[in-house]
């Protein structure tokens, strides 16, 4: 491997955004026939670096060479001409077109869908994809859409592939499939870069890891010669423990009782089908399921944001008094004296106001307080200052708009505000999605401390490993139905994975 010419050499790459140094003299080699895992905390500059390779940003300083020849990449088109293709976290597909149409979209030359379909089939056979060229995008699952994105890039002749957190939206089974394909492509001599936060994926998939911290290149090494602990320490810059605490439930008694909850979306599709369960105080109830199995509707129904077709959601207070939550909006629920906190999946679009600063975002929950027509502006800013200290939010000031913060810090602002309410029920959706190790553990600790306070926590997650380590009980959703509720202690990953794809989880064979 030593004498090979690198497919991509990035030398001395520097990129600034205003005063922030996103990449600071980074050196990186990418080789053919190898899967490179690019690791780093949020805001360490991984995506920025890869965006410069795929022509989205232009570096302030430094050079890029492909197969030893210096090149200039000014646009994604230049990148494609050099065989570089990037698969982003957010797919860029036209919903009403078929897979084949999406794949040839924007290519020069005559439109020959038949020839295109043939070529797509060829690519699929080579690497083990499953794509129906004539299927419309809107009929596809998230993983199928991702496959189309990858085929699109290959179709254009890319042999250097960059995948930005490709497994964030996949089930364990889908992830395995994707990894098999990536290995096939590697064996075919392609260069593959994968950005991920999940250590076990790095260990099982990659050949080499490269680590960035605060925009600087820290080091690279063969995956075989390192381990999760060492990589994490390099990313963070100091030793960290990788175990998630799971304290025993504190005096659990029913807090939220959901009975036969049925929800339809605007189009009339059933999103939740007679869902029943109880969430106890002092306990973390995990919700597992393929994305789109009704998790969003379930949380929003409890929070008073989702119209319900039938069923009941009752809140049980400490004295055993029951209150129906259905038919009440979040303000009415708050007025009832139910301290219900909700960390939604869409942080900037729903939980926070992206263009407002930290203080004003803290005010979202408290602005009604006090008599008179004026808002109290001092208290929320004071709270913002406390949150910045307590949760180690890195921000220039509390007057900074939250959209300028990195993903992890945005989440800390949101979680901080929601727990400042002293909730008795805490709903969280994908609380650590896109967060680095350090921030994730801070969030787990915060959730655990709420559990110890006697809060009923409902934790919707996508990383099964985390769900199995953190939750006291796990409710598995499958197509809007409850596939089963298993105790978190002793549950098997495979078993829960099966329940996610099939009601009850028993396989046919």
């Amino acid at each position: 491997m030593d004498n090979k010419i690198a497919a991509v050499t990035m030398r001395n790459i520097t990129k600034r955004f205003g005063p922030t140094l996103a990449n600071d003299k980074v050196w990186l080699n990418i080789y053919r026939g190898e899967i490179l895992a690019l690791l780093g905390e949020n805001g360490s500059g991984k995506t920025t670096l890869m965006n410069m390779l795929s022509g989205i940003y232009f570096p302030d300083e430094g050079e890029i060479a492909i197969d030893g020849k210096p090149v200039v990449i000014r646009s994604p088109k230049d990148a494609f001409a050099l065989g570089i293709g990037m698969i982003h976290q957010h797919f860029k597909l036209v919903d009403v077109l078929t897979a084949a149409e999406n794949i040839v979209l924007g290519l020069p030359g005559k439109l020959d869908l038949k020839a295109a379909s043939r070529k797509i089939k060829e690519i699929c056979d080579t690497y083990g994809f499953e794509v129906d060229p004539d299927q419309k995008i809107y009929d596809m699952s998230v993983s199928q859409k991702q496959t189309v994105e990858i085929v699109k890039v290959l179709y254009r002749g890319a042999d250097i592939l960059i995948l930005d957190e490709p497994t964030a939206v996949l089930t364990p089974q889908e992830t395995d499939k994707l990894f098999a394909v990536l290995r096939n492509m590697r064996d075919d001599g392609k260069a593959i870069v994968i950005i991920t936060h999940k250590m076990h994926e790095v260990e099982s998939l990659s050949d080499r890891v490269a680590i960035l911290r605060h925009g600087q290149f820290i080091g690279d090494m063969p995956t075989k010669s390192t381990n999760a602990q060492e990589m994490t320490n390099m990313m963070v810059g100091h030793p960290v423990t990788l175990n998630i605490d799971r304290p025993e439930p504190v005096d659990p008694h029913p807090r939220i009782e959901v009975r036969d909850l049925t929800v339809r979306d605007i189009e009339g599709t059933v999103k939740l089908d007679h869902v029943s369960f109880t969430a106890n105080s002092g306990e973390i109830l995990g919700i597992a399921g393929i994305s789109g199995s009704g998790q969003k509707e379930l949380l929003e129904a409890i929070a008073g944001l989702q119209p319900v077709e039938s069923g009941s959601i009752e809140y049980v207070d400490d004295s055993g008094k029951r209150e129906q939550l259905i038919g009440k909006d979040p303000f009415a629920i708050q007025e009832m004296g139910v301290a219900l906190s909700f960390v939604p999946e869409d942080r900037l679009g729903m939980g926070l106001v992206a263009n407002m600063d930290l203080g004003n975002n803290m005010m979202l929950r408290s602005y009604r307080k006090g008599r008179g027509i004026f808002t109290n502006r001092k208290a929320p800013y004071k709270l913002a200052h406390q949150m910045v200290d307590f949760l180690e939010i890195s921000t220039p000031s509390v007057e900074t708009p939250v959209r300028r913060l990195s993903g992890g810090n945005v989440q800390k602002v949101l979680v901080g505000r929601e727990i400042a309410n002293a909730p008795s029920v805490l709903l969280t959706a994908y609380a650590v999605r896109g967060l680095d190790i350090n921030s994730s553990y801070l969030i787990y600790d915060t959730i655990n401390s709420q559990k110890m306070r006697g809060v009923a926590v409902i934790y919707v997650g996508e990383d099964l490993d985390v769900l199995l380590e953190l939750c006291d009980r796990i409710l598995v959703l499958c197509g809007g139905k409850v596939s089963g509720i298993v105790p978190g202690r002793g549950a098997k990953k495979r078993e829960v994975g099966m329940m996610m794809t099939k009601l009850g989880g028993e396989a046919d064979e």
């Binding site: 205003g18 929070a303 303000f331 729903m350 926070l352 004026f374």
Partner: protein
Amino acid sequence: MNNKTKTPLFHVSRRAALPWYKTWAIRGAALLLALVLSGIITSLVTGEDPFAVYGAIWKGSFGTTRKFWVLLQNIAMLLCVSLAVTPAFRMRCWNLGAEGQALIGGLASAACMITLADKLPNWAVILCMIVTSLLAGAIWAGIPAFFKARFNTNETLFTLMMNYVATQLVAYYCVVWESPKGSGTIGIINPKTQIGWLPQFPSQKYLLNVVVVAVVCVLVYIYLNYSKHGYEIAVVGESERTARYVGIKVEKVIIRTMLLSGAICGLAGLLLVGSTNHTLTTTIVDGRGFTAVMVSWLAKFNPVWMILTSFLLVFLGRGAGEIATKFGLNRSFGDILTGIILFCIIGSEFFINYEIKLTRGAGKEG
């Protein structure tokens, strides 16, 4: 084939927030550039001395005491309509119906003056004028707001169409109330009794409007920045989903804010009819409903900056008129100069938000 690609000479990147004095230096430079540019164009196209033209523009607003008060009055009225649209704009609700809302407010005032003059004492007529004009403006904005909140109709088109309805209504009543008969216009209302004429400060005819609008400006500023309603408006404008998430009733906020917006427009109509003109025509609002959009945007929806932007637009407009008469130039020439100045000022915002970086060692290294 890749040898031909050259390193680009420059690339654009986003700036961090600049200190206030730098942003104002950029804006000042833009204004200077605008003056130099329009000076060059003036001498090239008309052969006039650019300094004489600038002088005339200045005199158009500050030449005489009377011109100065006309300037103030025009600023006040433009500012009033701009203040009206701003709460809606902050909510990202594009109320382009200020023209019609002010006109319908004016119609309500005129109706009171004409029909109640011989039935009620002067103070009662004025009270009726105030109530009905504010109400009329509010209703005119409330109709599109109701449909937006209820059926998610497009408020831009709806409010625009309401303008035409208002104009036609006023045109109709101009004939009904025409005086003298056959003129097709209303003429000065109650010229002898002066019933329904808003009281004036003894020293200055236009002072009342200026004072009223100044008070409204302060109130709107406080309402938007410090009240609970103002906070709700900002949240709904930024993200309706976030608003619902914290239990704000979005429909209610939309209707409430549009009612306020319309009511302030109605106030503008009241001032135009009851204080400034004492008559009603279909063009009495004079396009301010649309100029207000620019005033509000230029000031980034800040009521205090809007004093400055409405001054700028009125000043340029008066100047354009002055050079048209003084140099015998077409009035459009003044508009060209206004266009150049606005282009430079708005364009300067780009350089405040972005910087252009020259690439070092372009195209060398190999």
